[in-house]
């Protein structure tokens, strides 16, 4: 199967439905923003959102790992990982900073 690298902006894909292109736009607007992902084993990674795919596998840059702790993340030193990939089926939750959502449509309204 070829890997279609989406190097153009959304303008290069006019033939697709506007819903798809809006979905891509939403995702693209999050690129290089801080993201916090909780994994199935309770650990949390915080890093820059760099890449994702259909199965929701996510690559974070300058990622830091925080261990599970009962209260906040102020406990425990984070472990610096660098470039890390979280397989989609191990993603429990994805969060971004509220500032990252300013000006974009669609994401983030309280769920």
């Amino acid at each position: 199967q070829n890997m279609l690298i989406n190097t153009d902006g959304p303008s290069g894909r006019g033939e697709l439905s506007s819903y798809s292109s809006r979905a891509r736009q939403k995702l693209e607007s999050l690129l290089n923003k801080n993201m916090r992902i909780r994994m199935t084993d309770g650990r949390t990674l915080v890093g820059l959102f760099l890449c994702t795919d259909r199965d929701c596998n996510v690559i974070l840059g300058s990622a830091q790992e925080f261990l599970k702790s009962s209260d906040s993340f102020s406990q425990g030193e984070p472990r610096v990982l660098g470039l890390a990939m979280i397989p989609g089926h191990h993603v429990v939750s994805i969060e971004v900073e509220s500032d990252s959502l300013v000006g974009t449509q669609g994401f983030g309204s309280s769920h």
């Binding site: 199967q1 690298i5 939403k26 309770g42 650990r43 259909r54 660098g82 769920h111």
Partner: protein, 726 residues
Amino acid sequence: MVMKSSVEDDDVGWGLGVPEKMRNNANWVDITHDFKEACKELSLGELLHDKLFGLFEAMSAIEMMDPKMDAGMIGNQVNRKVLSFEQAVKDGSIRVRDLSLPELIGIMDTCFCCLITWLEGHSLAQTVFTCLYVHNPDLIEDPALKAFALGILKVCDIAREKVNKAAVFEEEDFQAMTYGFKMANNVTDLRVTGMLKDVEEELQRRVKSTRSRQGEQRNPGVELEHQQWIALFSRIKFTRLLLTALIAFTKKETSSVSEAQKLMQQAADLLPALHSSIEHGIQYQNDTTKGDQPIMMGFEPLVNQRLLPPTFPRYAKILKREEMVNYFSKLIDRIKTVCEVINTTNLHGILDFFCEFSEQSPCVLSRSLLQTTFLIDNKKVFGTQPMQDMIKDALRYFVSPPVLSSKCCLHNNHQAKDYIDSFVTHCSRPFCSLIQIHGHNRARQRDKLGHILEEFATLQDEAEKVDAALHSLLMKLEPQRQHLACLGTWILYHNLRIMIQYLLSGFELELYSMHEYYYIYWYLSEFLYAWLMSTLSRADSSQVAEERLLEEQQKGRSSKKTKKKKKGQGARPLSREITMSQAYQNMCAGMYKTMIALDMDRKVRKPQFELDSEQVRYEHRFAPFNSVVTPPPVHYIQFKEMSDLKKYSPPPKSADLYMAASKHFQQAKLILENVPTPDPEVNRILKVAKPNIVVMKLLAGGHKETKVLPEFDFSAHKYFPVVRII
């Protein structure tokens, strides 16, 4: 929490300067549902990413939740709680006082095993620092364990410093990173050896008080206790001796090297006691309620998991206790050998020492100790002699150049002095590099030897120019003397040594395929050794010429003196080396002819693919020689011409070649059997030469009927195989 020191230059990118907002103050919004839905709109195989981020970068990401790549996962896979030292002390799961003798013995032995595992190339975080007690010895109340923990930390610190300083390691040899651990730097070395000595003395009293008395019936309980006190005493003493020896190596005086040697011998004397008492130590505990792997009391293999760099997790298998004493015994032998180097005073002798030491593939610690003993603080040899003086001595010993002779007028000539001093100064760095190269592990050494040929080619050039200049000076002042190719001969000698070592080590490292043996051995026997022989004999003649001149100058002073000199003429300084080179040359010639003959009989498997080219392989094997001017590299076409058998009429058949090979092995055997004081190397070569004489005769006599290919057995000698036909 591991105690971190404030400044640690080892830490590489450890989250220093992480923006505060990354932690917890930002206002995080959950977008899980929307994100996942949006992803579903992507096509199969489509990646959504920034244009500066591509597949190449994506490929290097570590995959979380994959045990091969995710070092942080393992903490969640065990059922026990992974506690730091301080946490464990607080919650009572580790004791810092009232430890029993078996517990102390077991902990110390496991620590020794961790130390060895670290010295063999694993990280501190996965070895020594899995012992919780060394994280903070101040919290330990048991005096023996406290002193021991401090001792181990000091040993690690000094070892690490030595290895770093010597710089003869690569990542496969040693992990220098300390992860911010405190290495007992709030206590002096002397204090720690003092503490160990105090504990030792107390333990000696215990040993005495529990020993058997005449006429008394031996209580088995007391006897056991007695053995255990001895065991503990031996371990503390061993630690103290090891530490004191390492401290001696940090001193600048050469006398401390002899001291270190004595201490190492004393440590070796304790090894039998250590070995017989291993059984007294407690074993790894199998906590069946939790189902985890057995853990040793006082150790937590996962305590530093989060400090490990985000490369894929490397699991350090700690050495078994049964092998501990054997390792220490060999390590002590190596260190004692290292101490011998101060007894060699000439440069060539030192080079030979380094080469021989390297041949046993010694550990990184002993290699490093040898380097730092040789060049103390990288300035003077053994801390006393400048390298330039050693080089001048080497020149005198090898080729007796007139300019360095006190009896030559050039000795006081300003210009001549300038020439020679400048040349010798330029030689310092390459020779120091050469000695450092011999301190690396065997594989890296070969590579670096290839590279240093460039520097030596430059030296060769300079040597020729200086020789010419000195010669023209000398012609004007002392016409009966000459200074042709003196320095040049010496540099050429070293060039050839390096080239020969480079090619021979390829056999040791098993780099060559069978079908390449013939040109490697050809290059050695017909070319490099031929050059070496002529270089050595030229050096010898130069020495003889100089000696004769001195004799003539001394004629009339005392007839006794000249008589003495004539007697001493028997064993010339270079004669052994000439003899050994002849032997090596014959061995190589024998192998070269054997391979050609085997090839004629179609007994050599050759590569059979379309784009194969022997020329490309050949050029690759000899590529480092292209920077050498003398001897000029032999290119493939030239090699083919020079080795073409068709120039003989009639051209030899395989039987002729086998016989010729047999004669070469025979010649080598004769030469070696006449060596006055045979060393192990002579015997090793003989172990190969003798059977090969026979095998070649068999092959010549028509043993060709077998279809089975010959085998090459390098077990007797790593450069010359015994040829076996089945």
